[in-house]
Symmetry: C2
Subunit: 160 residues, 2 copies
Amino acid sequence: MDAKAPTVAEAIRQTKPFASKRQEGLLALVLAAETVRWRFAQLVESRGEVTAQQYNVLRILRGAGAEGLPTLSIVERMIENAPGITRLIARLEAKGLVGRNRSAGDRRQVFCRITPRGLAKLKALDAVLNQIDEDALGCLNENEVATFIRLLNKVRIHQP
Amino acid sequence: MDAKAPTVAEAIRQTKPFASKRQEGLLALVLAAETVRWRFAQLVESRGEVTAQQYNVLRILRGAGAEGLPTLSIVERMIENAPGITRLIARLEAKGLVGRNRSAGDRRQVFCRITPRGLAKLKALDAVLNQIDEDALGCLNENEVATFIRLLNKVRIHQP
DNA sequence: GGATTTTACTTGACTAGTCAACTATCGGCA
DNA sequence: TGCCGATAGTTGACTAGTCAAGTAAAATCC
């Protein structure tokens, strides 16, 4: 999280002419996603004292309620793999934002739950983050948003 | 780089209904970008024995020609910051794919050049990567590609 | 021409993603 | 009942991104 947002824009200027429109579209996709991801991360990290991924895990655990979720069920809801989540949750536990305990029924499973302190942290971030969700695509009108979603999903689903 | 591509698709299914179309659009953007990024990384890493970022740096250095580029000029062409590039290039140097030497004119600068071995590695990857650049948006027709680019750039530039 | 500021990195420490290998436990089944 | 394969998670080692702080060589200023 540093002053890289401006240089994302520069990246375009410095790039040589594209071999094709499709290649240009691919770069546009990656740069746009990187820009919004960066803005989200900056907000969460500066206001929440947690990283963007830690925030995502807290949201998932809030959604899971008081009984919590086994570790690997959290992974399934993220773009990440298992070894990473173990350590990420260990860091959240160290901060007192989640708790873990082995399931009584199946002693292989480890249930993770959000703590009251974790809930309070999320609550403090909710309003501002909902707002930037809206703002990020605020420059598109209703029709454009629909087209945007349609094209992006088409591209994503099409990948072999 | 593991079998995470399928679960990206699942992420959508498991997500609760969206608060708004704009929120849905934001997730569509991030997931689509992640999917193509993942595919690119998988190809480069399996065929090239270099990571996606290392590949990007090699491309930049190939473009720079025989005289090479100072370290920080490489950063400007990427979505990354300076400390990262120093170490990334050190790893490429260890693999014999780039060389570094201090500039005679300004002894603060370190020029980086791609080696013949680096060029050979890139050449071996060129055809297949140009192909996936085309394939990635292959499901969109000419008009759709133009709209895609227009909307993505609008979103990117609009970010405060 | 010497002090100060700026520039171009470099290093350290931490978070994170990824693969391979490992442990503990569970469920079946002979 | 005791083994066997599958499941849940952990650990180690490596690549990478990021911030803060440091170094060395210009460039600038007085």
